[in-house]
């Protein structure tokens, strides 16, 4: 049962509802923490639209007619190509997620479905990657990228993020796939379907796990600073996070521009998150599968 179902059925049972002082206290605590969580974000966004002096003299005030300005955004537009950075981030993230799901589901299917000698070994081999942080191999990755002539391309980022996401994805997907009933696939086999066909038909059954993998993998890829900084720092391949970081370094004494850059980096991500948060969180917190 999902979290929603659970919470709604509770009210029909005999457990006494928490009395109103307790409910009030719980609300207060959660409200306080939510305020703490949002406060820095709101502060940055509100001040991005104010004049320099107003930022310093009245940080909490909302921009009014006198203090409203878009100066920071203009500087931003003239000096940093944020739309291009967004494009890069989207391309890298979407491509990496696509590759991760494709490649990991294939490997997970093989590991879950077939008994062969190296099955456990390969499973273990891929699982090592969950615990080993890929950054420790940066030295080697940089050398490899230089040898393959892939530095300052989006492709190297995509490949590195795919490699980073494969271990956990294979682990999650194979565990899920192992729990699917065999009779479905056996029936298909007997009726002549090829293994590839069976894989393709199994995919829709593991949609929840795929969604899970997408959710876990997306945020670290989008927010990564390390690999774009080291492997693809060129202007053409800058991602949003790297672009914001570089811009912040360049215009670090121009508060308007800095706050504008932060706002541009925060707001789209947060809006997207709010749009999908229901699905994301429902997925994360839903109950047992069976």
């Amino acid at each position: 049962m999902g979290l929603m179902e659970r919470l709604s059925t509770r009210s029909k049972r005999t457990i006494p509802r928490p009395n109103w002082p307790v409910t009030l206290a719980i609300h207060a605590a959660l409200l306080a923490y939510s305020a703490l969580a949002l406060f820095p974000v709101l502060l940055v966004v509100v001040n991005a639209f104010k004049e320099r002096l107003a930022i310093f003299s009245a940080p909490y005030a909302l921009p009014n007619a006198q203090t409203f300005t878009l100066e920071g955004f203009r500087t931003l537009q003239a000096n940093a190509n944020f739309p291009a950075y967004f494009l890069n981030s989207i391309v890298v993230t979407v491509s990496a997620l696509f590759l991760i799901v494709l490649v990991s589901s294939m490997a997970a299917f093989a590991l879950a479905e077939y008994r062969f000698r190296l099955n456990t070994l390969i499973g273990l081999y891929l699982a090592i990657g969950i615990m080993v942080p890929i950054r420790l191999g940066t030295v080697g990755i940089l050398q490899l990228a230089v040898e393959l002539n892939l530095v300052n391309t989006l492709l190297i980022l995509i490949l590195v993020y795919t490699a980073q996401g494969i271990p956990l994805a294979v682990f999650v997907l194979s565990a899920f796939m192992r729990q699917l009933p065999r009779d479905l696939k056996d029936a298909a086999r007997i009726d002549g379907a090829s293994e590839y066909r069976i894989y393709w038909l199994t995919l829709p059954l593991v949609r929840p796990a795929i969604g899970s993998v997408l959710a876990i993998s997306m945020i670290p890829i989008w927010n990564d600073l390390w690999f774009p900084l080291i492997l693809a720092p060129g202007e053409r391949t800058k991602t949003v996070v790297l672009g914001a970081s570089v811009f912040l370094g360049q215009f670090v004494n121009d508060y308007n521009a800095v706050l504008a850059a932060l706002t541009l980096a925060i707001v789209p991500a947060v809006l997207l998150y709010f749009a999908f948060s229901q699905q994301l969180i429902r997925g994360i917190t839903s109950g047992a599968l069976k």
Partner: protein
């Protein structure tokens, strides 16, 4: 088996994650992805078919100068040479070295590389990332001293065209001085007196500097008032030869003099970074700002109405001859892997010319061209700085030549740490001096065992 237990235990919470992503979202993102990839491919094709102008890229750490390069300097060059397009692409100063190293290793660095003085660029030359510029027309416009920062140890090969040096001193807010009836100080006693008067007024910050970024404490603190105490070149060359030590004589006295600044720094200065200090001074909240001459251009940009004045580093009872830190700061060289060498050399020859010197000196007040050519500076504060070359002896920052060749410990980084800690009060001057000296002596031959 371990893994299966891990399965049961680990999988339940984790793989229950995110069931919710609908296939519609996945479908749509696949469609978007396809569209994006097509768009990108088309973009590449388009740009490849575009112009046949040569495009040069300049790597630099001078992100503060971005606007000026784009609006003043590069248009002048491109007017003269319309077939060459030049782009100025700076990185933040603290990241420049690391990012440049990566780009050079990967072969993606720009055609023209802004060179840091001494060892950092020598390293690049030795790694064959820079080419010799001995035969560049205009190279003989520079004296041997000017070229020293960008030549091999034996002085025979120069690999960057010197652009400018920077001079250290103090900027002050003329309006505040007028309001509080203060005189420009020339000795240490007068300097401290001025600071005390500003502090007593309670309205302004006496000395605007933070220690969070650490380098200002060393560069605009220690290396600003220090040369007078260690007699400039005498002290610096003594360190290299092993005859002088950081924890003796002028070098130790410089740490002691620096410690006297502590009470006059802004509230919370330990967490103030360089741009914060710039902002504070530009807003007129502070009286004196220990500066490098490059700050002049920054303040002119940040607040053109600020009444800026300057005075040279003060002298001491025990050291009456002033010595200024006239540090060769910036040069520009040719990337050995550049695909547009001819055009790049044209640009470099232009940099060595009088026209560039005149343009640069005025567009970027505070950077003083090193070429032996005539140029005039319009900015009065920059003129003031330049005039000190005649009044005082000159030297440059101690850690830059030879002494910072080691990775760990590194003399320049140590000076940063020690100076910042002296200002923070966590090191006494003696401790700071001992710290720097022992670490230098641990690896540098002539200083070993001293």
């Amino acid at each position: 088996m371990v893994l299966s237990t891990f399965n049961c235990v680990c999988v339940s919470p984790i793989y229950i994650l995110a069931r919710g992503f609908k296939t519609e979202v996945k479908e749509m993102s696949k469609r978007i992805g396809l569209f994006l990839i097509t768009a990108i491919l088309l973009g590449f094709v388009g740009s490849a078919l575009a112009q046949n102008k040569v495009r040069l890229t300049i790597e630099s750490w001078r992100n503060d100068d971005l606007k000026i390069w784009q609006e003043t300097i590069l248009p002048a060059f491109m007017k003269k040479y319309p077939n060459i397009e030049v782009v100025f692409a700076p990185t933040a100063p603290t990241e420049y070295n690391a990012v440049l190293d990566t780009k050079l290793k990967a072969g993606t660095a720009g055609d023209l590389i802004t060179c840091r003085p001494f060892d950092k660029s020598l390293e690049l030359f030795n790694a064959k990332h820079l080419v010799s510029l001995n035969d560049l027309p205009g190279m003989n416009n520079f004296s041997e001293v000017a070229r020293a920062a960008w030549s091999t140890d034996d002085g025979k090969t120069t690999f960057c065209v010197p652009m400018a040096s920077v001079i250290h001193g103090f900027l002050y807010n003329k309006a505040i001085f007028r309001e509080l009836n203060l005189q420009v100080p020339s000795t240490e006693a007068q300097f401290l007196q001025v600071l005390r008067r500003v502090q007593q007024s309670g309205r302004y910050i006496p000395l605007v500097m933070g220690t969070k970024d650490q380098w200002e404490a060393a560069t605009m603190g220690y290396q600003n008032i220090g040369p007078t105490l260690w007699r400039g070149e005498v002290g610096r060359k003594g360190l290299i030869a092993g005859t002088q030590k950081y924890n003796e004589g002028g070098f130790l006295q410089a740490f002691e003099a620096l410690a006297k600044w502590r009470p006059f720094l802004p509230r919370g200065y330990q967490a103030l970074s360089y741009p914060d200090a710039q902002n504070l001074f530009a807003q007129g909240r502070g009286a004196i700002y220990p500066a490098g001459s490059w700050d002049i251009g920054v303040f002119r940009q940040m607040n053109p109405k600020l009444e800026l004045g300057a005075f040279k580093p003060y002298t001491f009872e025990t050291a009456r001859q002033c010595v200024i830190n006239d540090h060769p700061d910036i040069a520009i060289g040719l990337n050995a892997a550049s695909k547009n060498k001819e055009a790049a050399r044209t640009f470099l020859a232009w940099v060595a010319s009088a026209e560039f010197a005149q343009l640069y000196a005025n567009a970027l007040p505070g950077f003083f061209p090193l070429a032996n050519v005539q140029y005039t500076i319009a900015d009065p504060v920059a003129q003031e700085f330049l005039s000190w070359r005649k009044q005082c002896q000159t030297s440059f920052r101690t850690a830059y030549q030879i002494l910072s060749r080691n990775a760990n410990p590194n003399n320049e980084n140590d000076l940063w740490n020690a100076s910042a800690q002296v200002l923070n009060g966590t090191f006494t001057p003696k401790q700071a001096a001992d710290y720097v000296q022992t670490r230098l002596a641990s690896w540098y031959g002539p200083q070993k065992g001293r």
